[in-house]
């Protein structure tokens, strides 16, 4: 018996999975079902990564698989007004003065597959970019990333600016990325911190009452 789509994707059999998706589309399968399978597979991949069974390059490969899948099914997706329920909305970025993206990208990926709507504003993000994005999408959570020890002050300034813009009470703020502890969290004025992507997800879920 051939493997089903979820298994193929979760096992990172990219070519076979894409072939299967193409033939499913030809057979008239609802693209939404394919999206559901993809989501389920990504959750399996995420937990395999958490458990140390999968590694960073495999996570990146799975991200590329999602892009390829979207490319195939996008033309067949009709807007049927069905919106996925999101757990919450998150604005995420690496603060000004730091250009590390790997950790932030993993956090974005893990939040996304766990049901959050993630707005990633990239690396070396100026304070104003955070403010603009917060005003635009009205997030539940803001996540500041930074790997360098030099950016603790920038995190503090960014959070200060969010406060000055009158937005601080509307959001929970988490920080992460480098050698961060309770003391640094307090220094920056954030609500909490996470050591890795899994902690970020757990924290976000806790804040959303999950």
């Amino acid at each position: 018996m051939s493997k089903n789509l979820v298994e193929l994707l979760a096992d990172l059999n990219e070519d076979e999975a894409l072939n299967l998706i193409e033939s499913k589309i030809e057979d008239g399968t609802n693209p939404r079902d394919i999206l559901e399978d993809t989501k389920e597979a990504m959750q399996i991949i995420g937990s395999r990564f958490e458990e140390g069974e999968y590694f960073l390059p495999e996570l990146i490969l799975s991200g590329e698989m999602i892009n390829d899948i979207m490319e195939i099914i996008k033309p067949h997706l009709v807007d049927d007004g069905e919106e996925d329920e999101k757990l919450g909305t998150i604005v995420l970025g690496t603060v000004k003065g730091d250009i590390h993206d790997i950790g932030k990208d993993i956090v974005a990926f893990m939040l996304d597959i766990n049901g959050f709507e993630v707005h990633d504003i990239g690396v070396d993000a100026p304070i104003q970019k955070f403010i603009d994005k917060i005003e635009e999408v009205d997030p539940d959570i803001v996540a500041l990333s930074g790997f360098l020890t030099t950016v603790f002050d920038t995190m503090k300034d960014t959070i200060e600016a969010i406060k000055d813009a009158g937005l601080r009470d509307d959001v929970k703020i988490m920080i992460g990325g480098g050698p961060i502890d309770e003391q640094i969290t307090e220094y920056t004025g954030a609500d909490d911190f996470g050591d890795d992507a899994m902690e970020a997800v757990a924290l976000a879920k806790k804040w959303m009452g999950e």
Binding site: P57, I60, I99, I102, V123, L148, T149, T150, P179, I184
Partner: protein
């Protein structure tokens, strides 16, 4: 190989509390162990302490040089902390400042310290446009930085270029881009040193030590003559010693034989 021992860094387990509590014994022990293991410089870094960093760095410099004979590598992006560390430094061999970059603000702030205290320096191959991606980026930024430093009075042999090692886990060509950059930079500047923090190469992958060890040897073969690493790791230290000999830098294999006879090598 010029080994810079990396263990005294507050982002490593146990070091931050030791520095905060000014636990002299802990820090001195860590310094002595690295010297005994063959470190040529001892790096001191307390970047996680934010506002207390300058005083803590000064204390680290004083505390470490009390017990070791080797010079120090004073490690901070903060010029104020570097200055305070340098004020406390008394070794005959100049310290290495870790680090300067081609970012205009950082360059302007750190350069006067190199000149005033006559130090060597780790020069990171990055500028205001961010981290380098290709070999070409690294060569261009490093060349500009070396030329600027030399015209500002820093001798070529006092510059340790760090080509900025990035993970192959996110870009499988990264390893080879860095090797190619090392090649070109060392061809162009014969007296220059190349150093790097190796362990970033293996980020996100299993059995990281194996990747770090292999990459050390590959980079040495292209002209890297220094590394920032854990000198208590006997395997990587053995590879550094052996690589040095195999690359023709060890007359009559004397250094290798001596290391073998004194049980300093492990297979």
């Amino acid at each position: 190989m010029i080994i810079i021992g990396e263990l005294i860094n507050t982002s490593r387990d146990g070091v931050e509390p030791a520095v905060k509590e000014r636990d002299k014994e802990f820090i001195q022990n860590l310094a002595k162990k690295q010297e005994e293991a063959g470190a040529d410089f001892i790096d001191v870094n307390c970047g996680t302490l934010i506002q207390e960093e300058p005083e803590a760095l000064e204390w680290l410099v004083e505390t470490v040089q009390e017990v070791v004979g080797v010079p120090l590598c004073i490690d901070s992006p903060n010029p104020e902390a570097l200055k305070q560390g340098l004020e406390a430094y008394h070794h005959d061999t100049p310290a290495i400042i870790n680090s300067i970059t081609a970012e205009s603000e950082r360059y302007e702030e750190v350069l006067p310290l190199l000149q005033e205290y006559d130090t060597s320096v780790v020069a990171l191959a990055m500028d205001d446009s961010g981290m380098p991606k290709t070999a070409e980026d690294r060569i261009n930024v490093a060349t500009r930085l070396i030329e600027d430093l030399m015209s500002d009075g820093i001798a070529e042999e006092n510059i340790y270029v760090d080509p900025l090692v990035q993970p192959i886990g996110t870009d499988v060509k990264m390893g080879v881009e860095i090797l190619d950059a090392i090649d070109v930079i060392t061809d162009k500047y014969e007296e220059i040193h190349i150093t790097c923090g190796l362990s970033n190469i293996s980020h996100g992958l299993p059995m990281r030590k194996l990747l770090n060890q292999t990459y050390l040897v590959l980079a040495m073969s292209r002209g890297m003559d220094s590394a920032i690493l854990d000198p208590l790791d006997e395997k990587i230290m053995s590879l550094a010693t052996t690589g040095h000999t195999l690359l023709g830098n060890d007359k009559y294999c004397a250094n290798y034989i001596k290391a073998a006879k004194s049980n300093k090598l492990t297979t």
